[in-house]
Amino acid sequence: MIAWISIGITLLLVVLLARPTGMYVYSAFSAEGTKLDRFFGPIERVIYRLSGIRPENQTWKTYAAAVVISNGLMMLLVYTVFRTQAYLPLNPSGIANMEPRLAFNTAVSFMANTNLQHYSGESGLSYLSQMIAIVFMMFASPATLLGVVMAFMRALSGKPMGNFFVDLTRSITRIFLPIAIVSALIFVALGVPQTLESTTVAQTLQGEEQSIARGPMASFLAIKELGNNGGGFMGVNSAHPFENPGAISNLLQMILMLLVTTSLPFVYGKMVGNPKQGRVLFVSMAMLFIVMLGTSLTAENAGNPALNALGVDQQQGSMEGKETRFGVTQTALYSVVTTASETGAVNGMHDSLTPIGGMVPLVNMMLNTVFGGVGAGFMNVLLYALVAVFLSGLMVGRTPEFLGKKLEGKEMMLIALTLLIHPILILVPSAIAVFAYPETISNPGFHGLTQVMYEFTSSAANNGSGFEGLGDNTPFWNISTGLVMYFGRYLSVITLLAVGGSLAAKKAVPETIGTFRTDSALFGVVFLGTVLIVGALTFFPSLVLGPIAEQLTLKP
């Protein structure tokens, strides 16, 4: 009972915050002057002057080029930091330079908002790297995509696309920095360390020596969750008692993960001048979320039949890979939130979830539309909305329209291409890995396939959580997932900006009685159907071979 109340309160807080956050995000990016300019304007003008930015509108091509070039340069800068960290200051624990393939993987991983980590934070990165490389990217990466989704929405609503450098700056100064500073300090009050002192050695009660790693963790944690980054300061991420000391810090982390991404439907509704449009999409995604959560909770509470058969007290459910302070409820909830929002932080080991409990995060990432990461998720949602409109148009036999613009061959080709990229990036490399590198898979049987698929799904969806039993710090995994993450991120950014550019260039057609309304419950149903049919047709066979087969073979 109490478990359900805690979940209910968590979700209620998320829903209550979504709209006000959306209104704030809308005015933060507004081209017209707002009250926010008085406060943030002076800081931003300094940044513009230092960087030589002139806030003029860009075409979709210039906007996309600015995204790809700036992000590419950032990766290069950060790669250099990783490769030379041993010679740089702020390295009290004497960490060595990172090897090139791992540094490549890490740089792409954080720039692409994935935060797949093939290193362990305690031993792989100096404090300087954690700060000016990792934390920097944790701001720059979601800020990039928030800018892109704002540009896409502007294009859909017939406004000029805006300027990428202005959007990037505003994302950081107006949204990510202020919220991160406040939540970082709350995290410290809840017990998360924030220090530049090195690892310390304690004399334990039993008379052994215990080295305790720590560092500037609270500031890292705040942007890790808020920006849907998800990479851990410590190897085990938010399962580490320093990185998530209790259920309240756990709650705050979940709220931060969903804060910006759940607000975007409302931004969209306001932008296109029809709040109902946004609400329909929000409610549809919330319904998918509830189904996922229910499935996961049922599976985890039932526990592992094999362990239950030992005759021990099984009231706690499946506790392998989970922390006592979170238990089954908060771990299952967190696993759904982190994969729905494509954050990738974990507070328990997803590899040790029950088969069906582990399938839920996997499906969240495959669909990539249950809210999704900042910007990227909502871009996907709009993509599926366009497909839904197109399908409806075909069914009634008239040219489909979305927000008064005709959807034609050119847009649909770009959309179909974007839809295909995701499964190709997941399934093709998975097949290669299973065939050529079986020795890196740690769990035998059907679960091994799930491990591999999870890694590539997580990469393609820019989530970053892992079935961590996988021996993934090898040249094959570093290079293959690095490429999957890169293309998973930037190909769809380019194709969708192109769709936006193409739609923006069209003349609006007047709405008639025959226009298919995209702000009705009926559209919500068609939208959900599209997501599920496309998702199911693409991935169902592989799910049967992985988690479903494993569940069927778990015998008491």
Partner: protein, 190 residues
């Protein structure tokens, strides 16, 4: 060309702003307002020697202590981790069987049905500082026999160190094993 130079300059500016200034500002404020927590909630004994962190579990193997969760890394807190066993992994079953056998020989007076799931499973971090209250209670008969402390005193120790759900709703009730064992140590030295 213009995009390239703006990109480079903006990247460097943002790197300084979000990488350096942000982290340093938060560190400064945290150290000024909440130095103990910001340093990692460290615990010292009367002689001022560092004995651990209240947030990080410790390795207790001697049967006279309360034991924590299984840890594949023996609670070495310069790293963190777990074997990531899948539910279907035969090694998981072997290990759990071993834990149950060990429990039976160390706690002959306590039926296996009182042994809680958290005591035979690996935590996520390998550093879990907590066990469930039931998991602590199940260990009382063993510890009473080895230390000579009466069961009633141990029961009150456990209930004194049982933390309820946060705000009464969130998470699970927990017992901090390190703090409980510190109290146990004081009780036996009396």
């Amino acid at each position: 060309m213009n995009i390239l130079t703006i990109s480079l300059r903006l990247s460097l500016v943002l790197m300084v702003l979000t990488g350096l200034l942000y982290n340093m500002a938060v560190t400064g404020i945290a150290q000024a307002l909440l130095p103990k927590k910001a340093d990692g909630s460290l615990m010292y004994n009367k002689e001022g020697q560092l004995i651990g962190s209240e947030l990080i579990g410790q390795n207790f193997t001697d049967p006279k202590w309360f034991h924590g969760r299984l840890s594949s890394i023996s609670y070495t807190a310069n790293g963190s981790g777990t074997p990531n066993y899948a539910p279907s992994n035969p090694d998981l079953l072997t290990r759990a069987n071993q834990s149950v056998q060990d429990w039976k020989s160390a706690n002959p007076d306590v039926p296996v049905s009182n042994l809680t799931m958290d005591l035979i499973t690996n935590s996520g971090s390998g550093l879990d500082p907590h066990i469930s209250p039931k998991g602590a209670q199940a260990q009382i008969p063993r510890i009473s026999k080895l230390t000579g402390l009466p069961v009633s005193e141990l029961e009150s120790l456990v209930s004194k160190h049982t933390a309820s759900r946060q705000l009464g709703i969130f998470g699970e009730p927990t017992v901090n094993v390190l703090k409980l064992n510190l109290a146990l140590q004081q009780a036996t030295q009396k």
